[in-house]
């Protein structure tokens, strides 16, 4: 088995384990740490595809900025351990089968769209810095700028909400 395959299964497994632990942990900080593990593993998976830039941005933005805010909020609110409740009857009878059905549906659709085993080849993936920048500022310049404006509005809204009188 090639080294990249071993690494894929290692970090893919870590991502799945982290996601499971995110849901199953009872303490919010432990859940947040599991989410960081998921994001770091995803970054490694991007790296395996040859998408270095996306991998680095994944770590810097998600693990380095957004999750820091999560952790800070949890620390500030001093959130304690959650109560664990058993599944209600509706959830057991209706929820679980529907969730399973949805999962099966998604898997089926994915399989029908890309039946081959190899979908992305490492070297043909446009994850390098140059191509991404070129795409962002030519083909996708309108969505890019719209998103920036949207984020700016969100920031302004946060400032207005936080500071009642300016």
């Amino acid at each position: 088995m090639a080294a990249s395959t071993i690494l894929f299964f290692l970090f893919g497994g870590l991502a799945v384990l982290g996601a499971l632990s995110l849901i199953l942990q009872r303490h919010p900080i432990h859940s947040a740490l599991s989410l960081i593990l998921v994001m770091a593993s995803l970054a490694v998976l991007y790296l395996l595809l040859g998408a270095e830039f996306i991998a680095a941005i994944q770590v810097i933005v998600y693990a380095g900025a957004i999750m820091v805010l999560f952790v800070m909020v949890i620390m500030l609110l001093n959130a304690g351990e959650e109560e664990r409740t058993s599944l209600s009857r509706t959830a057991r009878v209706v929820g679980l089968p529907v969730a399973g059905l949805l999962l099966a549906e998604v898997c089926y659709l994915l399989y029908r769209a890309w039946p081959a085993d190899t979908v992305v080849e490492a070297d043909r993936f446009l994850g390098r810095t140059g191509p991404i920048g070129r795409l962002l500022f030519t083909d996708f310049v309108l969505p890019f700028e719209l998103t920036s404006v949207l984020i700016l509005i969100a920031v302004l809204g946060a400032v207005v909400l936080a500071k009642k009188e300016l």
Binding site: L33, E52, A56, I60, M72, M75
Partner: protein
Amino acid sequence: MTDWIARHPDLVFAAIKVVICLFLLLTAVAYMTWVERKLIAHIQSRWGPHRVGPHGLLQPLADGLKNLFKEDIIPAGVTSRFVYLLAPFLAVSLSLLAVAVIPFGPEPVEVWGARTGLYIADINIGLLFVLAVTSLGVYSIALAGWSSNSKYPLLGGLRSSAQMVSYEIALTLSVIGVLLLAGTLSLREIVLAQTGHWGGMVPRWYIFPQFIAFLCFFISGVAETSRAPFDLPEAETELVAGFHTEYSSMKFVMFFMAEYSHMIVTSLVASLLFLGGWLSPFPATEFWGWTRYLPVALAGALGAVLLVDAVRHRPLWHRFIMSVLGLGCLGVAALLATQETLLAVVQGPFWLLGKTAVFLFIFIWTRATLPRFRYDQLMAFGWKFLVPLAVLNIVVTSFLVAWRAG
């Protein structure tokens, strides 16, 4: 086994380089504490450590042993044992990780018939890797503060995560000016883009066209490492010791090591980005040819000074240590003077480490000179001065780059 090694020379070289780099970095970290205490002492007209060994040279070893044998206490009230133990581990491993992408020299050197570069890894996104690793460093402090379950660490942790997140923005923005000029994220290529001299005299280092970016980078670098005057996370007069109040023994040492290696990495990156990394400041002309013997001169002079100084020391074993060090330096000088290939290999690391030493000196100098910021001053300075200045620098630089490209 030998078969496997022969088929994977890269892996073997990488492993050897990792070991060498870690050894050098950890030694440097240990001796930075000595340098810092000595320098600050002399700035303040004191002696500094001078009991353990000649000039207190064995002080780091004594400190290390002392901390190793201290009782390792885990307070009964920690919120989560796992997180409490994870925090110092994260701190030290993340701050050591960044050295992996630092290039120490220009081209691959030949060792035992195989070619290998003077870096552990040369990746296309070297700079982003360093930024990513430093951005993760916040967790160690935040988690340490939270898991200690005590009010001073919590306040220190909160302060420091807010500070690091804020100054990270200025740090990242200030780098963009350099990236615009160099057109690459690879640290090796950024250094190579600084080759040459203006008018045959002034080196084409980015500190000259990007002086504002350099100021922003270095100030936010100092803030990122939580060093004075930005050492609010551990302001002892108000927070006892900040986030590491509840840590003892080796766990405390790990935070300490993280801070010092973070300092070294910031200085290394600053010299790579703004001072031309391993490039010599002198033009590569016949006239300046003698400058390649500067490493020899430095080692020789150091050896001579140490030998002369050895006579001055009273206890015999102090004299012995000093003479061994002096003879060692002279030996290195002789080796460099006679072995032409070795001298060529040493050029890059010599200049890079020399520039790094300048930055480390400034780190310590500011700590000895400046009083600590107030918290609101710190935030106002970061958000209302450094970030706008860095943005302005990006705008001006990109206009100039676009204008020059036509």
